[in-house]
Symmetry: C2
Subunit: 318 residues, 2 copies
């Protein structure tokens, strides 16, 4: 295990790729590896990119990759695919552009599309980002689709959270404002060559100006990821934000919150498994029938089920 | 409480509306009402409609409403709005058409957009559908957005599940197939006046023909909801499917599964609340630090936290 960790630190890409596959594994080796990389957590920036399908997140990341490489940075990317392919029919094509960089030894891109990771995609994302850190990629970029509905709450994982919007949402600023204000550090309006996007940019700027005096003002940036217009300025702003995250001690808080999130999700998963074992109990059929007949309240049914689950857990720990 | 239930059964719309607001309430009155309507569960069809944003679900439901009313049926609709407004910028406009029916005394439409319902939108959907049943609406239509990512697994709630697709997903049949096969009883391709939709219909038919010999073959129907083309045939098919759900005893199984789902979600929620109380414990800080330093495995941390939670639950039951 220590050898694997050492090799990854020395830049061995094959070991890194092997370790990434182990991140999804419920086997002892995977568990041990996940436990052992936590302590190596460095002060590397993790930048999250999220937004609706079609906003151009992959195109933006591609543009940032080019510029970060030009500045001599080694860049790791974790791209989290949505759980349902229905939600984003187009992205596979968009992502091809980004994958050009996969042959660059100083870029490592990992796409996560799995549902089988223990604890879901949030944990798989965390583990992969940590491995990229361990392999001394800096920064680590995390791309997720959707806001709010996604299984991965990118704002819980990333140090700096960039929300990317494209034209097509211009009429619903009131609607999107609430969810975005909560998670965005930077709001990027892409495709600013299109009139709709420009209207959106103006409207979003007006809306967010009102929040300028709050705890966490959101900056709004207009770009054109495909031509690269505005991307250098965006990168400079990201690096600045990142310095402030480090200097104010927020990075340490964020690292604490990530580990706390891991424990929470693992505890919920452990309980869920115990619950499913409990539901196989014959007595549950009677419980459901009683509830359906109105002979039992939901509260009482849950209390009875919890007692069964707690009993089963003591009998057969997993 | 019994008076409220009686009045709803007698068709009092104001009482029905009041009861629907109570479905979201964590107060004793809301809990008692939810417990008391479970026993009134009738043999009313619950039809679920799901699919990506823009496929025309609301337009289809509007077209079905017109036809069901013409056949003398009283129709209840539960429209589940997505948790994130980002996912479907257009639907508010589409839904206006459907809302025309809201003035018809034999139609009742309830839109659920809340996040505050105990147990999430799946439970709110269940409760509202049961209330509509109680008020003798028949059938009950349930509209949800998205497949797979949605908080509401419509296939777990509805008797018959209709997946609605529109043009724009034509190239990704392989991608969408897996998720859809699992939940769809009927696959509807809408906007068949458009060439893209027609190509999609042909392609989907070819794909699903392969599944014809399986346990649960999926029927594929092409329609044009806006003009009404194909909607009468779709309605006939829905009514047939529904008869088979009733006659084969599948409806009873589904009702059992719904109540089981309620218990499961309530148990998870109860545990989650206990967990959050447990996380306020000062000892958790030390647990997180140990895990972050690599001095503790995630498994051990969860075991220690679970012990804290179980202890807290005994001290202060909620």
């Amino acid at each position: 295990m220590d050898t694997l960790v050492d090799r990854i630190r020395q830049g061995d890409r094959r070991c890194l790729a092997r370790a990434m596959s182990l991140m999804d594994s419920a086997e002892p080796q995977g568990r041990r590896l996940r436990d052992s990389i936590r302590r190596h957590s460095a002060q590397v920036p993790w930048w999250g990119f999220t937004g609706p399908p079609g906003a151009g997140k992959s195109t933006l990341i591609d543009a940032l990759l080019i510029r970060l490489r030009a500045r001599g940075r080694r860049v790791g990317v974790v791209a989290v695919d949505p759980t349902s392919p229905l939600s984003d029919g187009a992205f596979l094509g968009d992502r091809v552009r980004m994958m050009r960089h996969a042959v660059d030894p100083d870029v490592f891109i990992r796409s996560l599309a799995t549902h089988h990771s223990p604890g879901g995609l949030s944990d798989a994302t965390l583990h992969c980002a940590r491995l990229l850190e361990l392999a001394r990629f800096d920064p680590v970029l995390i791309e997720t689709v959707g806001v709010g509905q996604s299984e991965v709450d990118v704002a819980d994982v990333a140090d700096v959270c960039v929300v990317v919007l494209g034209p097509g949402y211009g009429d619903d600023i009131q609607l999107i404002k609430a969810g975005l204000l909560e998670i965005a550090d930077l709001l990027v309006v892409n495709k600013c060559d299109l009139p709709d996007a420009n209207r959106l940019l103006t409207a979003v700027r007006q809306e967010f100006a009102a929040a300028a005096g709050t705890d966490r003002p959101v900056e709004v940036v207009g770009i054109e990821a495909k031509s690269g217009k505005g991307v250098d300025e965006l990168l400079d702003r990201l690096l600045e934000l990142d310095r402030s995250v480090r200097d104010t001690g927020r990075r340490n808080q964020l690292q604490y919150r990530r580990v706390l999130g891991e424990i929470k999700r693992a505890a919920m998963l452990t309980y869920q498994r115990a619950l499913h074992r409990g539901l196989e109990d014959g007595a549950v059929r009677e419980l459901v029938d009683k509830l359906a007949r109105g002979d039992l309240s939901l509260e009482s049914a849950v209390a009875q089920l919890s007692a069964t689950v707690a009993g089963a857990r003591e009998d057969a720990p997993d």
